[in-house]
Chain length 227, copies 2
DNA sequence: TGACATTAGTCTCAACCTGAGACTTATTCG
DNA sequence: CGAATAAGTCTCAGGTTGAGACTAATGTCA
């Protein structure tokens, strides 16, 4: 079991160590969740984000990708650093300094000790991991409008309603259907596969795939109203 | 001399150490610059960003503020983490892992070993510091439209042309005067002091100060055109 | 079978925002 | 005085946005 290979380094925490912790985000049923490992048993049951220590000379990004792959099975299409944490809070490996990474993944059924944990109920995560999830979600929300990470949440083929739901789940607010589609149209990001999916009730939906086309970068003036 | 107090920790680099490095950004004459310390002498002359090591139990943010204060004389009004770097590149203290912070400051005349270094000529900075400056500037550019950091570049009283220049310098592109002022007006960020400054030629300019007023947060739809 | 609920997808419109150029005002310089 | 220079203002066409109303295709159930 891949998840056990790093156990030796985990069971010997020492002062002054550095950890890499990864927040793997996915969404399902209009809820965001993160991949967490169940630790302890019965009454002592707790959870932990996937983490590890960088090998000597290993780049942080590489270590993060490795840790994500171990937990999820494959390397995420997008992964980004979300900050360094050393605030004296509890870390499962006793690390004093932790570098947090965030990735976005399609939802799958995880194996063995791994679970999708709703981002509402983080109480059973160590304090530092809770802060990391907060930071990670904020990075994802910002990146959502700058990089095509929403497509990483969905399977290769999806309906526009599913895509809109992904955006709504991440942003935590409803979007107007017509406006969303208009923006999508103008962005040349998707193309129809030609197939349709009838999901029980209602009109069948056209299936789309992510297929970005070259576009002119729209440089606009300053937006002081966001400030 | 404050800059020397941490010398002892600097002269004893060891493997596996962590450093905090701070990119202190300012602008002058339409050019961005960062505060750097001159190291070595004559032909061996090089430069280094202010850096240090966190004290045991010290929070990263606190350490960064301390290091910035040592280099600049006072703590910056805004300072933010810009990422962790451990890519095997050269660091003046031999740190394997460096956490980078960025702050924005009004230009002053620095003391003793400190210089304002133009962001164009970074060749004499260690490789890792060069990467940090790149990352820091990108953070500043993003934050500029989300937080009132531009005002940290200016003295307490300034003209609108100076403010616009600050924005242009950071963003690296010209802005339209009328549009900039209209956006500023709508944002309720500044108020006139009532005084005027005549700088030689041309009509005297009204002086303003930063005085933000409560405003409704303008939540807008998704902007897929930036992606 | 036919009304109805449900979901997908489209159209239109008023209000607002943006970029740009042209204009007015106040000052120094020669 | 008039030209040069910089500050500050006005207006307008065109684009973008939010919102509601509309059509379309399917399953459900009486």
């Amino acid at each position: 079991m891949g998840a056990r290979t790093a156990s030796s380094s985990r069971t010997a925490p020492s002062a002054g160590t550095v950890s890499i912790d990864v927040v793997l985000v996915s969404c399902h049923e209009r809820r965001l969740s993160v991949l967490a490992e169940a630790t302890g048993a019965a009454k002592r049951r707790g959870f932990s984000l996937p983490w590890g220590t960088p090998a000597k000379g290993e780049h942080l990004d590489a270590a993060a990708a490795r840790i994500a792959r171990r937990a999820f099975g494959l390397a995420p299409a997008w992964i980004e650093q979300a900050g360094a944490f050393a605030d004296g809070t509890e870390h499962p490996g006793g690390a004093t300094l932790s570098v947090c990474y965030v990735a976005v993944l399609p939802r799958g059924e995880p194996m063995a000790p791994w679970w999708w944990m709703g981002t509402h109920a983080l109480t059973r995560l160590p304090e530092r991991h809770r802060r990391m999830v907060t930071a990670a979600l904020s990075v994802v929300r910002v990146r959502l409008e700058q990089a095509p990470i929403a497509f990483n949440l969905l399977p290769r083929e999806f309906t526009l309603s599913e895509l809109q739901q992904a955006y709504e789940t991440v942003l935590g607010r409803r979007l107007h259907k017509a406006s969303f589609r208009r923006a999508l149209q103008a962005a040349f990001l998707v193309e129809p596969t030609g197939e349709w999916r009838g999901a029980g009730r209602g009109r069948p939906a056209q299936l789309y795939r992510y297929a970005p086309r070259r576009r002119k970068g729209a440089r606009r003036g300053v937006r002081l109203d966001l400030l």
